[in-house]
Symmetry: C2
Subunit: 538 residues, 2 copies
């Protein structure tokens, strides 16, 4: 239990921790309150009970201790940075004081590679560095610092981005960068035409999801969206925020998280029977948290369904560079639609991001969407929405264009680039394999292969007593399991309930991002915890 008196004592002048900023205390208080509040079972928020914050040395009160808030906001949940993560933050501050049976917290809750040791791609960082401070190019020492192709590309970028990284660009993005992205998309898709006008650069793919949700979901019209279960909870969260309903279509765990088109059609029909107006379908390929790569046939089925049923296809393809299964490959929905003869026949928005793949530039907030088949009236509204936000950050736009236009063979940066790329991808593949096979060794745990993305999503079978204990604490069984995992091992994962899962099944999502030197110890700790947990609750 959180004991406030312990902290007050430490804050006394002269005590060893008197330096602890008061803000830290308030942060801990607020986090504790936040932990108490959200129910991972129902997604409902249990209000803080009218408490309000006080400074230690000020009498602060105000007549309204409540603030009337948008219920859509209160309803929205985002487990990737939810209850378990909030507790983990407190734990990570306490660990140094020896309060826990482990030395470090291991953050396996979020795909944030550079936070856990993955190195950025040199080529990209050299270019961004030069774009921030172009004067470097005029310095004679520059040839010692950067290869010639980097200097050349930097000069081209500086010419292409008028006003540089500090200037607002056109709202859909710098025209030259949109062109570069479009040309790259065309190459990627084996020549399927890509119009730069269909490319909007974004502050991360999430910004594209928000835009589409905002555009499509009409207040008071019972609008809904088909979303895969399990899903990346940005979809459920934004649906809640924008007042839409989530219509789940279940991926089949027994078929390597494959998609069954009949399941999709059934979900659609059921929603319509309930009076919902289904506007779009989100497809995450490769999947998150599941990692599966859709088969070509699945993609054709989805495209045909959307064309027939007047659905917008939201193709979340941010993991397109993370495919590990040798029998699988990524094909964009744009390409499949083109080959099916249905491209431009109905709206498709394809999303990509700088955050994943092997460049892992999460904090950059970069990405793009390609939009085809939208009527002009919609394109005008999308343009206007982009205008209201002025423009995506330029550094992210540049990173996006570089991601899509890496060094070519023969160029000075090529060798290092390929070494870094291959190193990262092969390491990801090794860690994926290691982690998944280790999880499959645990009692009652089955884990599908991580064909792609950055996560393992094992299914856990929990003893009845554990399920009861969870219920007593008002937690979901997998939320309970994950919290116990955190408190016993320091490993932070996200319970399956945060992503959605078939009723009566439990999962958790873990990244396989801990370094290769660390991952062995992570697996060891996890395995021991699991065995102990089963023993305790059997």
């Amino acid at each position: 239990m959180f004991d406030r008196r312990k902290y007050r004592a430490k804050d006394k002048p002269g005590s060893a921790t008197a330096q602890q900023p008061r803000g830290r205390l308030l942060q801990l208080q607020r986090l504790k309150r936040a932990v108490a509040q959200t129910s991972p079972v129902t997604g409902e928020v249990m209000p803080a009970g009218g408490e309000f914050r006080k400074h230690e040395d000020e009498d602060r009160s105000f007549h309204g201790s409540r603030l009337r808030m948008n219920p859509n906001v209160v309803k929205a949940q985002y487990a990737v940075r939810g209850e378990i993560v909030n507790r983990a933050k407190i734990v990570s501050q306490e660990v140094a004081q020896g309060k826990h049976p482990f030395d470090t917290v291991v953050w396996c809750n979020i795909g944030n590679p550079q936070k856990v040791g993955q190195q950025p791609i040199t080529f990209i960082r050299q270019l961004l560095s030069l774009c921030e401070y172009p004067q470097l190019l005029d310095n004679p020492a520059v040839t010692q610092l950067f290869p010639s192709d980097v200097c050349e590309r930097a000069r081209a970028l500086i010419a292409d981005v008028p006003g540089g990284t500090g200037s607002y660009s056109e709202s859909p993005g710098v025209p030259a960068l949109r062109r570069m992205v479009a040309e790259a998309v065309q190459r990627r898709d084996g020549g399927c035409k890509c119009d730069p006008e269909d490319i909007y650069l974004l502050d991360g793919a999430s910004a594209g999801v928000h835009l589409m949700m905002r555009l499509l979901l009409r207040p008071a019209e019972n609008d809904a969206m088909l979303v895969p279960i399990p899903q990346y909870p940005l979809y459920s969260a934004t649906l809640a925020l924008y007042g839409g309903s989530l219509v789940p279509y279940y991926l089949d765990e027994d078929q390597a998280w494959g998609l069954n088109i009949d399941e999709l059609k059934k979900a659609l029909a059921e929603a319509r029977r309930k009076g919902q107006c289904v506007r779009a379908i989100a497809v995450i390929n490769p999947g998150n948290p599941t990692g599966q790569c859709l088969s070509y046939e699945n993609q054709v089925d989805i495209i045909k369904l959307c064309a027939e049923e007047d659905l917008v296809l939201i193709a979340d393809e941010v993991y397109q560079e993370n495919v590990y299964a040798s029998s699988k490959k990524f094909t964009s929905f744009k390409k499949v639609a083109t080959e099916t003869g249905l491209a431009y026949k109905f709206p498709i928005v394809s999303l990509h991001s700088t955050s994943k793949g092997f460049i892992g530039e999460c904090g950059r907030r970069g990405g793009f969407m390609e939009m085809i088949g939208f009527p002009d009236a919609a394109r005008d509204q999308i343009f206007k929405l982009a205008s209201i936000n002025l423009c995506p950050n330029i550094s992210g736009q540049i990173a996006t264009s570089l991601m899509m236009n890496p060094p070519q063979e023969g160029e000075p940066s090529y060798e290092l680039y390929m070494k870094e790329k291959t190193g990262i991808l092969e390491s990801l593949k090794r860690r994926a394999t290691t982690l998944v096979s280790s999880l499959n060794k645990l009692e009652g745990v089955t884990c599908n292969e991580a064909e792609g993305a950055l996560y393992a999503f094992p299914r856990i079978r929990l003893p009845a007593r554990a399920v009861e204990a969870a219920a007593e604490q008002g937690k979901s069984p997998d939320g309970f399991y994950c919290m116990e995992m955190l408190m016993n091992t320091g490993i932070v994962v996200v319970p399956g309930s945060g992503f959605g899962q078939k009723d009566g099944t439990y999962h958790f999502r873990t990244t396989f991002l801990p370094s290769e030197s660390e991952i062995g110890s992570v697996i060891e700790r996890l395995s021991k915890f699991h065995a102990d947990f089963l023993k305790k609750y059997s």
Copy 2:
């Protein structure tokens, strides 16, 4: 009139402009359609009439040429990048072909300093450059490239930002950077305590406005917000997007755009009489487009009103570094609230940004908000909203912390920093004075002093025949005037109707950002146009 045949002829293979990307044609088509669509008079959108885009070489049609869209999106307007700007883009492409009686388009529609020649602050760019590519610090040549304090600060930043610019940070921002910002805010406000926990870093101040709108405006509750007229149209646009109503309070042009607290109370009372639930008041200080700096008394009045009337105060203070009138100075609402004894007694959110001031880092998308007096339940929801968007871009976070913590006297970078800062601010002041006095010389034009910000907002008195001509074209009189200005001079300004103004008055907003060498010619062209316009329509 737009003649499509001209473009097709040019696209014939072998023709001189056959290289013109097809996308350009579609862009022009779409822009023209966009121009026809939005009415600056009513703010309503005239639909495109069900047209849809076709590629030149593909037969594209689909069964739905309409896409049902959120009416709040359709309703929202943002004139800073609206109709006139869309036309100006077309014009800027045509100018090279000699189609217009001027050589260049001059973009005076948006506060985007680095696009029009303002140089970034060296100190900031050197640091960002090093943060992007820290390996530079290990290179022996680094001391030739960067002053020692920059190298030292870079090392500190690299230590403070775990995972660097490519890693997601905590959702409210990197803790060390929040601390740095809080300490700076405390210094700025003469010691008024600032808790780092109350500082959230943002992807630009706009992100903070969106967050507050989303939090406060409840669907179907007739929620409203007091907004100054004239205002920066982000407020009207976001109110429309989030389903709230705008309650105008008029600034007094005859009193140097001053605020009359009785006017404010009247507007509040009137809104309530109409059954609106007024949730907040937005105050822009220094003002945009008006540039006025509020008096201390005005600020006290506003604070007292909010505390009494249960209003959230949204203090948009992004121009706090742009104060030119020697008799005026910026005082933060936080400071005034503290001195009035009302700090923490009701919710205040104060916004700042890297986009303005003298650093002008618009494309960076950086900024922060300080939130005080919000109940914990609201703080938890705000935290959750920030989590759903993961984090603000790290480069912007770093720039924000540097903006608030510049070089100090005695440090190697100090002299250059002060030279650049003073140079920019004094030049802005000179241009402000020059422009305003020149506008005041024009017949029928009066322009209040630009006490702050980056804009002049002159009032124009138009002949009756001009007003008629405007009506015939379905334009507002000042929209008509501004379009004529564009087509005759290439100067792009924003009509007052985009910001709101007293009925029967007309204005336009122009930046004073064109360089000092250019601004003379801009004034000349504008003056000539104005005289010709009056002559034509008298």
